[in-house]
Symmetry: C2
Subunit: 417 residues, 2 copies
């Protein structure tokens, strides 16, 4: 009799019909013998509706009150869902973040779970009920309602699974699992059977929207097996779990892309200590997060070009900052380009295999795709390219690493130790 | 520096514009020096919307989950209202029933307040905040969310005022106060300056929709002065308070009517012990509440006619029960009439004045309005008449007792001790 935490997202509970459909699946699973905790999001569109409602009242709604407002979205869903389950003759009980003992810090709108008082949920499980918990919300040590930020219901589910010592955390979503790349970009994308926490983290931070970043961090920290599945199709999903030998043999697990960045280059920066620091302090003061940084030689001897990328919504603001700093430090012209994309090749196998980078660069070069910046980590290589080549690059790299084939059928990459 | 509990109903907070308007009044009052606790209802129509949503999921939604669902209505309002107040530069904090320490029994949908843990609200008052409390909701001793039933926000406000030892509980509504009768029926209706708890109770139970019945009971029990005022018009309201000498001099305070009853008569019931008991047990088993009962002689000697009234939605059901019982006990035909009305004359002064009943009957008779049943209490006389005469009867009685004039200008009714 396994203890399973399941999470269903907003599209899975968007209306009465879907709520009843999910309730039916859950009831069947309960009857098959598992003990279940179900974490739910607000119905699709509800959170946006509530935010809009708040903004009609005040242009900058108070963050504490915004969380009081937003948390009603999940409360509605857990009530409706529990009604549906009970109507099917199965016992259930809804629990808000408060009732489920989910204690967070006080960062309204982006709170972090501190700990979970598991007794209330455990009591209800002991009474053989399906426990239906509101995702996305918690409360601080003074009893204020908090929310975890967009996608926070994933985190609620994984954290609850960790705290309850659940055998599995199942995340039901509108995709069938984690794919080698976005199937909308390349139909040859293959669903992964397994992926490591670290790969999933890289994919999540690269813009793959399957799992909320923090939920993967939680899973990794507490070693919770996470299964990503479709709420609509009855098919095996992707298991996110700790790295094993089998995974290490797979050199490349997936290709991701991110079109939400912009690039800025300061040319001919005087090559003196503190110049880069001055630039990045100014950008940071403007509350802009920098992703990649590359420094190279400038066209004038003794001077350097510094390129960096920022989120695209911060592009204009950052350009102005860069322009100001360039004048102050007597650098050359500022180049900028909002139409770039970041293509990344991810795989834990890269730790023990080389040759991945050169195959990536070769494949892009063969298509005349110019690489503007490169960044690497232990399990990832990212290239900045012109945005218009994004889909082409994804397809080429997918083919190059034969990701459409099962791992054991792929041609071995030269291994160097 | 008075401590005042204010309550605003659903129409007062129906949309962003009205929420801001109420917030403005509250902020002005705070700046004038009072300490304020504001109790809010769900926005007009919201509770019905949520009930509808629940019924789409299950024909008989689980009561516990219905309360989880319904309580979101007030939570949305307190969040929006607190945002508005803070946006106007005044400090405020919203509190759900749980956060405000409102502890009830577990009668979901019609819970009764057991006690209020005042410390959380007092703490916020000490910090000089406007405390914005969700009406209509509480929680039981196991932390389940409960609701108090329709109109329950009035009860929240009066109970909070009692628990906090507030100087006044102000109920803002869409009428200007308590009137001598329904101003929609008779334009000569006069706003009462003061009315006693007992009169208000009779008026509330007779269908006057100004105050929730239980809130008046609370006010009477804990002697909380309740002021009923308009949210939209800046005018003095009606003070509901304990009976004083001045009130006793006023013989009749108001005329109420109730069109929501139906009458059933069993004719020629055998005049043997247990016949009436058998009838009323059968009606009670059908979960129908009986209001008035009158027994008189039947057309056959030794037999009796028994008439009683029930809520109109229960009319058909009760008629069938009565028909069955009539056959079982060998009574005569069953007469029934769903088109009746109950007209009541209310006043604490009746305790020390007689002649009210005869003036009432005379006035109705003068208009050829036939009285079908009569019931009296210490401070009330009710007559059942044909529904079509309702408005005429209200106007005639209002004129008879000169309720359009201030009390001291009315002609004295003969006083008998």
């Amino acid at each position: 009799m396994a203890l399973v935490v399941q999470k269903y997202g907003g599209t899975s509970v968007a209306n009465a019909e879907r709520i009843r459909a999910v309730a039916q699946r859950v009831v069947a699973r309960k009857k098959a013998g598992d003990r279940l905790v179900v974490v739910l999001s607000a119905r699709a569109g509800e959170t946006d509706r509530l935010i809009q409602m708040g903004r009609e009242i005040a242009p900058n709604p108070d963050p504490r009150e915004m969380d009081v407002l937003l948390s009603t979205g999940e409360q509605v869903t857990i009530a409706l869902f529990s009604m549906a389950v009970k109507d099917m003759g199965c016992n259930a009980v809804s629990m808000t973040g408060y009732q489920a003992g989910i204690i967070t810090n006080r960062s309204y709108g982006q709170a972090r779970i501190h700990w979970i008082e598991t007794l209330p949920v455990m009591d209800q499980i002991q009474e053989d009920k399906i426990v239906v918990v509101a995702g996305f919300q918690g409360y601080d040590d003074e009893g204020n309602i908090t929310t975890l930020g967009r996608g926070g219901s994933d985190t609620t589910a994984v954290a609850l699974a960790a705290a309850l010592g659940a055998d599995m955390c199942e995340i039901y979503t509108d995709v069938e699992g984690v794919f080698t790349t976005d199937p909308n970009v390349y139909a040859k994308a293959r669903k992964l059977e397994k992926v490591s926490y670290e790969e999933m983290l890289e994919m999540a931070s690269m813009g793959a929207k399957v799992l909320h970043l923090r939920s993967v961090e939680f899973g990794m920290k507490y070693n919770v097996p996470i299964m990503v599945l479709s709420s609509f199709i009855d098919a095996p999903g992707t298991l996110v779990t700790k790295e094993d030998e089998e995974m290490e043999k797979v050199v490349v697990s997936g290709i991701t892309y991110n079109k939400n960045e912009a690039r800025i280059t300061l040319t001919n920066v005087p090559d003196q200590p503190g110049m880069a620091a001055r630039l990045f302090k100014a950008v940071s003061d403007a509350k802009v997060n920098i992703d990649l940084i590359v420094q190279g030689s400038g066209s004038i001897p003794g001077r350097a070009n510094i390129s960096f990328t920022v989120p695209r919504p911060d592009y204009e603001k950052t350009k102005a900052v860069a322009q100001r700093v360039a004048e102050e430090i007597d650098a050359g012209v500022v180049h900028s380009n909002p139409a770039i994309a970041k293509i990344s090749v991810i795989g834990v196998g890269m730790r023990s295999h080389t040759g991945v980078a050169s195959r990536m660069f070769d494949a892009l070069a063969a298509e005349n795709i110019n690489i503007k910046m490169i960044a690497t980590s232990e399990i990832k290589i990212s290239c900045i390219i012109d945005e218009k080549y994004t889909e082409l690059a994804v397809r080429v790299l997918h083919d190059t690493f034969e990701l459409d084939k099962p791992p054991h059928e792929r041609i071995k990459i030269r291994q160097e130790h």
